[in-house]
Symmetry: C2
């Protein structure tokens, strides 16, 4: 037996017990005649004491040689600590060591194993196994495990069945790029890794499983943006004989359950907002509603005067920045520069200071009088002391940029509090979105999403304005889940494929098995998938999913710890009937 | 709302309630003026009744048109059934239908949706979504989900943390073949899919996670034998600061917990047997110990006479077949033919009938007298009425074949009862096994397995007889789990790589990150992985894992439902910098 207790469990009540502990040397303090060692494991830290008098000298000398991160095993007596440490759960006691065994030595780690480390991200990724020893990283992984358990317990309690769908499936040219897997047994053919278990969960509904879920890895070979991973985890769910309302209710209950269980936070009923409202009020389909700063459309007032830029703009819209009237000219200029930052395309910002005395001072005083500006303040709910920031231009682009400004200012003002949770349903998403590249409509969610029955007859005449029975769950400005009511009628599905520009042959080649399944009595069904990495990171009060993944990949899709991907040897390629047309060696 | 109740929940207490149900038409009985419909969903079957008098005629006619597997929604009144069916939980009531809506029509399914179906396996795989509607298949999937929940609840209760390890990892040329995944972003390079999370779980131990588990998909590109799947699921576990005994204890407790929870079976402490004992007594490292039929080594007695075949054999060994003395000559000849079946290589069988009167009649009476045969009977524990079957030849091959005969006879005699559970630990596996092809030793478990300390000095002199701290959990003749104590000392690990014929460079190229990790204080650790598909199928009283997988692949690694794998289009191949050297089209 390597240990009688872990390093986090001994208390004053254990004094005089003989114990055996094992763990890592966190640090040593050497006073010559006495050595203290902080011994660490997953469960905590316990102080060990070696001294000339009470323990033997040889062992004291051995203790003096212990380096950071050595793995040791000690046997000794629990004694009362002279200077107690009330911050440590084990702070009342220490172990007077009688036997010491070094289990493994350690080189000096490349960064400190402390809550705040001196290691940069790249280094910590290369030595991820050392990074995981740090409390914050380990606690994130344990937190993730706990959230997963709570999800499973909740869903199992509601009769959901967890079903493992296959990972080696079939490639479909639509949507994001698939990762593919060459088959050796089926020469020249490839499997694909699933971007989601979408079709399988629908088939399970056709199969009568009624309520399905799975916490499952999905894969997308996309050019990686910051905080995207080529492999990610979904909580994937589907239900039969339900309408949108049933789905929203059950997953609202689940989210509320999670917030209560893992954060001890009570939230009221989730507000709901249509996609159109979200875009109008926040310029964003995943608004952070923890703070106000709602958009005020001032187009009508702004266009009443001779300011050409506004008069030519499709939309003039502003937000009130709390306390912004006290910004200096220089600070405002810097903000204007931020808005114009080159990567998003230049866009001018007009501002209005709402003075404490009720007057206004704007960058367009030449065109607008106090009465005009009062209307702007009213539209943006600006109060005395605020700064109104106004952007103008094409409606979509202007909204997107004002949304970015809104989030930036909320961040700067500390309004995005990690321990405050504001969930929100966004509903009635558009069914289709126009794709400039291919000059055709694409399914905004996916081709199996049901249009709203009352909008179906607009599919021909006004496809861009057909709304879907599709919904997103938004938490603190992040989409944590999304789903839709599915089409279960084969005629409507065929119509949808037609509107998405599939020929019947293409539709059959890609989704034939699903269309076939719909010939045999498909139930009405609907579902939702949560981005589990994102959900966990937001519940954990952070927004970087990488911090909640044990072994994440970097922005080039590489695992720098194991150095993957890597070149294959010739023999392996030949077995797979493959030739690589570029040089894949890393050197 | 599609339904007020599911199809399994209405009882006599609900009589007179107005209810709405939805589900599939299981069958209809049409008496002209009256129609009964069995409506089915995941939860059960409820009988619907339509009649001329109490409901309207138009609806009765509509009901008469309903085909099998139509999806319908009905609203009506719960009424008492005239002829109750005590076999059905809902058998006291029926629904007098007032409204009927057809939600989806169905073509005639290609096989009957009944517990016993008329569909062959290939057809049922192609229409797996219909197969899943059948009770036995659906119940298997629900059972699997339940076992997974029990495993998670047990392990979480023991402080195990579920950590998701990556699926896109690095290919290693050792062991079974990897499935690989070409990377588009890292040109010419490939990820591999994990055969197990072995190295990652060891890194988590180096990372101080202490107790890890994961229910995880693994992948092996092997030529498929019957009942092997290219993707399969493991319960993967690892613990730090433990010895073999700790691991055996906790997973014995888990297995006992599962048997109790999902089968309501109590089992005593698991017996333990060394690999050597298992081979000697059962000729098999995963013996089914639910029945006796232990091997009796009769070499000494058999070689005492002039029977050349036995005298030249390395081993002469027999088993007693219960009641076999009553077999006819023809039956025995058929059994001898079975033993000689060409696929295993011919081997003669000698037999001894143990007559009820205490005498013996053997096929080698010419060489052995009654006294000799009595010794054989004694060695094999044969009783009056039994048949002793004796095989001889090279020890390993003879044991393997006698083991096959033992299993076959147990099967025929009905001794392998699905509801009887006999778990067993097999310990002290050999560390290495000789590979004829490569003419060198391979790790029997994997290269990280620790040799028994007392055997380390035989690594050089007698490698084939070095025992490992490796163990298998066997249930009813199936290996359901296996694991080992790991090497955590970098010097011993280097020695092992050397003995396995790796150059230091090769070892570094493949396992460098693990060897690096061992430089920074690796704790002693050990683990185990269960084959989850196998575990579930055995707990479910069956031995075909395919029956417990939602969407299994066939023996060629194909998913016949979605028709995967398949050829990629040229554009996709070019993006991946690949050329396929064979024609991959299916036609």
């Amino acid at each position: 037996m390597y240990r009688s207790h872990d390093c986090g469990s001994l208390r004053a009540a254990d004094i005089n017990k003989k114990v055996t502990l094992a763990g890592w040397v966190q640090k040593t303090r050497d006073k010559g005649f006495m050595v203290w060692v902080d011994l660490r494991d997953r469960y905590g830290v316990t102080q060990l004491i070696f001294d000339e008098e009470r323990t033997d000298k040889v062992m004291l000398e051995k203790a003096q040689q212990l380096g950071r991160e050595f793995v040791i095993q000690v046997t000794g007596q629990v004694i009362e600590r002279e200077s107690k440490n009330p911050k440590m759960p084990t702070g009342d006691i220490e172990i007077l060591v009688k036997e010491l065994k070094i289990l493994s030595e350690s080189k000096t780690p490349p960064f400190t194993i402390e809550d705040k480390t001196d290691g940069g991200e790249e280094l910590r990724m290369k030595y991820r196994y050392l990074d995981i020893r740090r409390n914050p990283v380990r606690e994130n992984l344990i937190f993730r495990s706990r959230v997963a358990m709570e999800v499973r317990n909740f869903l199992a309690g509601k009769d959901f069945v967890e079903v493992e769908t296959p990972v080696l499936i079939k490639s479909t040219p639509e949507g994001a790029r698939d990762f593919v897997v060459p088959s050796r047994m089926n020469e020249g053919q490839f499997y694909a890794l699933p971007q989601s278990p979408q079709t399988f969960k629908q088939l399970l509904m056709v199969g009568g499983l009624d309520k399905y879920f799975q916490i499952v890895k999905c894969f997308r070979d996309e050019d990686l943006r910051a905080d995207r991973q080529p492999e990610f985890t979904q909580i994937d769910c589907e239900m039969s004989f339900v309408e949108q309302e049933d789905v929203l209710n059950i997953f609202e209950e689940m989210t509320r359950h999670l917030l209560k269980k893992v954060k001890n936070v009570d939230v009221a009923d989730f507000p709901r907002m249509t996609y159109a409202q979200a875009m109008e009020k926040y310029g964003n389909d995943k608004p952070d509603i923890r703070f106000g700063m709602e958009f005020g459309d001032i187009s009508a007032f702004a266009k009443a005067k001779d300011f050409k830029i506004f008069n030519e703009a499709e939309l003039v819209v502003g937000i009130a920045i709390q306390g912004g009237a006290s910004m200096t000219r220089k600070e405002i200029d810097k903000l204007i520069d931020w808005v114009k930052r080159p990567q998003v395309g230049a866009m001018g910002m007009v501002y209005v200071k709402c003075n404490e005395d009720g007057t206004f001072k704007s960058s367009v005083d030449k065109f607008y009088d106090q009465e005009d500006l009062a209307k702007w303040a009213d539209a943006t709910s600006a109060k005395a002391g605020d700064l109104i920031a106004v952007l103008s231009g094409p409606a979509n682009k202007t909204r997107a940029q004002l949304s970015a400004l809104r989030m930036e200012m909320a961040e700067r003002l500390g309004l995005r509090k990690a321990d405050e949770f504001a969930p929100l349903w966004v509903v009635d998403f558009p069914l289709l979105e126009w794709d400039e590249d291919t000059q055709r409509y694409h399914a905004m969610h996916h081709p199996f999403t049901s249009p709203k029955p009352e909008d179906i007859d607009r599919l021909e005449s006004d496809p861009g304005n057909v709304r879907a029975n599709a919904y997103d769950l938004v938490l603190n400005g992040n989409e944590i889940g999304g789903g839709s009511v599915r089409i279960f009628d084969k005629k409507l599905q065929a119509l949808m494929f037609d509107h998405l520009g599939f020929t019947p042959e293409e539709a059959r080649a890609q989704f034939g098995f699903l269309m076939d399944a719909f010939e045999y009595g498909a139930p009405p069904h609907a579902g939702l998938a949560f981005g589990f990495d994102r959900l966990v990171s937001i519940l954990g009060g952070q927004e970087t999913i990488r911090d909640f993944i044990a072994f994440p990949k970097n922005n080039n899709g590489r695992d720098v710890m194991i150095d993957a991907p890597s070149a294959l040897d010739q023999e392996q390629l030949e077995e797979l009937n493959l030739k690589v047309t570029v040089d894949g060696s890393t050197e």
